[in-house]
């Protein structure tokens, strides 16, 4: 062990920490070798900015006069239903929530121009949002209807709580059928017309710490333009997947559940997103600092796009029908070149995850640390590792009838 997090934080407070982004470390490690680089570099920052569907926020709106119980009632924010199964004035809004009937969504492929993710973006941008409630009146909460403008600044709590973010690698999607398909991986043209991927690759947080040695529950992170924390492993966290010799997962593996105060975040890093023919979501900016505690950890952060492989999967048949077939394994270097070769064809590629914005995030986090504004935290518990036995299982369907 070269240094501890406490030692790193001391250096940060004194303005002496050496911090590089996960992109910058690649060349440094190559030039100086991992041993020397590990001795010199204290922190490597990572970043990613992509659509992350299992995102949402909870709010406490404060009590009206007379009081009203949102819990158990029906609550709408700009016509988008929020979850009201909690206490009187606590609600949860998911990024994928859709208006009950948006005529623009009725005919396939629906436009999905507005949903939960867009409401969250507008709230963070400081815009007024319409809250409409119909409630079950009780003796203590007698009011049955409420219609009011609300604003982020007036809410008691507004907490971003994303139960699955920052996927460690993901599928690469294509379409083998003869009709265009509309998926959460974008519009996929027929007959292998295009191939879409969604990962920051060499900048991606968990791909830079593939065995979760430094990133854990309680890690302080960049989230949505402000500060957040890792609250838990994300849903579908699946550490035990095939990996390369360097330990990099070749399939989608780990995930993070993250939390943070929405009031200090920015709409630049929480963007309401529409996927044609699929639905609404939220594009989230996440950045995780990796403390260089050992040479081994530095080596993992020097992973580059050519070291990271992903599986190309057909989203017209194989994916929806839960068939395990893959067409090919390609590296992110190949994907980012703009073309990949599959079945002797040259296929154009496109990303759904913004690499330039991921660079901005990793760079911003680096600047926060260099300026002494951001100290690293010691995780309070590790994320389940490869030996934990945590597996992303499919649903075992048990029909209700005899």
């Amino acid at each position: 062990m070269i240094r501890t997090i406490a030692e790193i934080n001391e250096k940060i407070k004194q303005g002496r920490a050496v911090v590089l982004t996960a992109e910058e470390i690649i060349d440094i490690a190559r030039e100086k070798g991992t041993k020397k680089a590990a001795e010199e570099v204290d922190v490597v920052t990572t970043g990613t900015f992509g659509p992350m569907c299992s995102s949402g926020a909870y709010f406490n709106i404060g009590h009206s006069k007379p009081r009203i119980k949102l819990g158990g009632g029906r609550v709408y924010l700009n016509d988008v239903p929020a979850y009201a199964g909690l206490a009187a004035v606590d609600i949860f809004l998911g990024a994928n929530a859709l208006p009950d009937d948006d005529p623009r969504n009725r005919v396939h492929p629906g436009e999905f121009n507005y949903g939960g993710g867009h409401v969250i973006e507008e709230l963070v941008a400081g815009r007024d949002i319409r809250l409409v409630v119909s409630a079950y009146g009780t003796d203590c909460y007698p009011r049955k209807k409420l219609e009011t403008w609300i604003n982020l600044a007036d809410l008691n709590e507004a907490v971003l709580f994303n139960i699955r973010n920052a996927y460690q690698n993901y599928n690469v999607a294509c379409n083998l059928s003869d009709k265009a398909i509309y998926t959460y991986m974008g519009v996929l043209r027929p007959n292998l017309g295009n191939v879409n991927y969604c990962s920051a690759g060499q900048l991606s947080p968990l791909l830079n710490d593939p065995y979760y040695q430094t990133i854990g529950i309680g890690s302080k992170i960049f989230l949505g333009g402000g500060v957040g924390f890792i609250a838990w492993q994300g849903t579908q966290h699946n550490p035990d997947v095939p990996r390369t010799e360097k330990g990099v997962p070749k399939r989608s593996a780990g995930t993070l559940a993250v939390i943070g105060d929405l009031k200090q975040m920015s709409p630049k890093y929480l963007v309401g997103t529409s996927m044609l023919g699929y639905g609404c979501t939220l594009t989230v900016g996440v950045g995780v600092p990796i403390p260089i505690l050992s040479e081994e950890i530095l080596e993992y952060t020097s992973v580059s796009d050519e070291d990271i492989q992903a599986a190309v999967i057909d989203y017209s048949e194989a994916y929806p029908q839960q068939k395990p077939d893959i067409l090919a394994e390609v590296s992110y270097a190949e994907l980012k070149s703009g073309k990949v070769k599959i079945q002797d064809k040259e296929i154009p590629t496109a990303s759904l995850s913004s690499y330039p914005r991921a660079v901005e995030i990793a760079t911003t986090l680096k600047e926060w640390i260099l300026r002494g504004k951001f100290l690293l935290t010691q995780p309070v518990a590790p994320l389940p590792g490869v030996e934990s036995g945590d597996v992303f299982k499919p649903l075992k369907e048990r029909p209700l009838e005899e």
Partner: protein
């Protein structure tokens, strides 16, 4: 000197059943390619045309259209990218049939060349942050 321009024509109701484009060809010797047409009886019509010909003929053809009451707009003004909303994800790259979007391999940012744009509109709905806007 030969010119080639893409224009958007707005036909008021009263002109919709008059053979305007026919005259552009016959009287002004212009080659035309219809990129998009939305013309219904009793309603305003919209047509996106690519016109090719000698500069003189083109100018006279445009004057004819204007005098006939057709509103003309250069096409490149019609599809715009809202730079505040664009996140440079790149989803548009493989959707555009004319490769009007190009990835800068160095900065990984997406450049939009509105000269190549034919206003087909595929990118409008395919753009996840809805950064592409049409103003016809």
């Amino acid at each position: 000197m030969a010119v080639s321009k893409r224009i958007v024509l707005h036909f008021p109701k009263r002109l919709v059943d008059r053979p305007i484009v026919y005259h552009l060809i016959k009287d002004y010797n212009l080659e035309f390619n219809i990129l998009k047409a939305s013309v219904t009886p009793e309603e305003e019509g919209v047509m996106v045309l690519e016109l090719k010909g000698e500069q003189q003929d083109y100018d006279q053809g445009i004057r004819y259209l204007t005098e006939a009451g057709v509103k003309i707009q250069s096409l490149s003004q019609d599809i715009i990218r809202n730079e505040e909303r664009c996140t440079h994800c790149g989803a548009c790259l493989t959707i555009c049939p004319t490769a009007a979007f190009e990835l800068d391999l160095k900065t990984r940012q997406v450049n939009f060349d509105d000269e190549k744009c034919i206003a087909c509109g595929l990118c409008i709905k395919a753009c996840p942050p809805r950064a592409m806007e049409v103003h016809f």
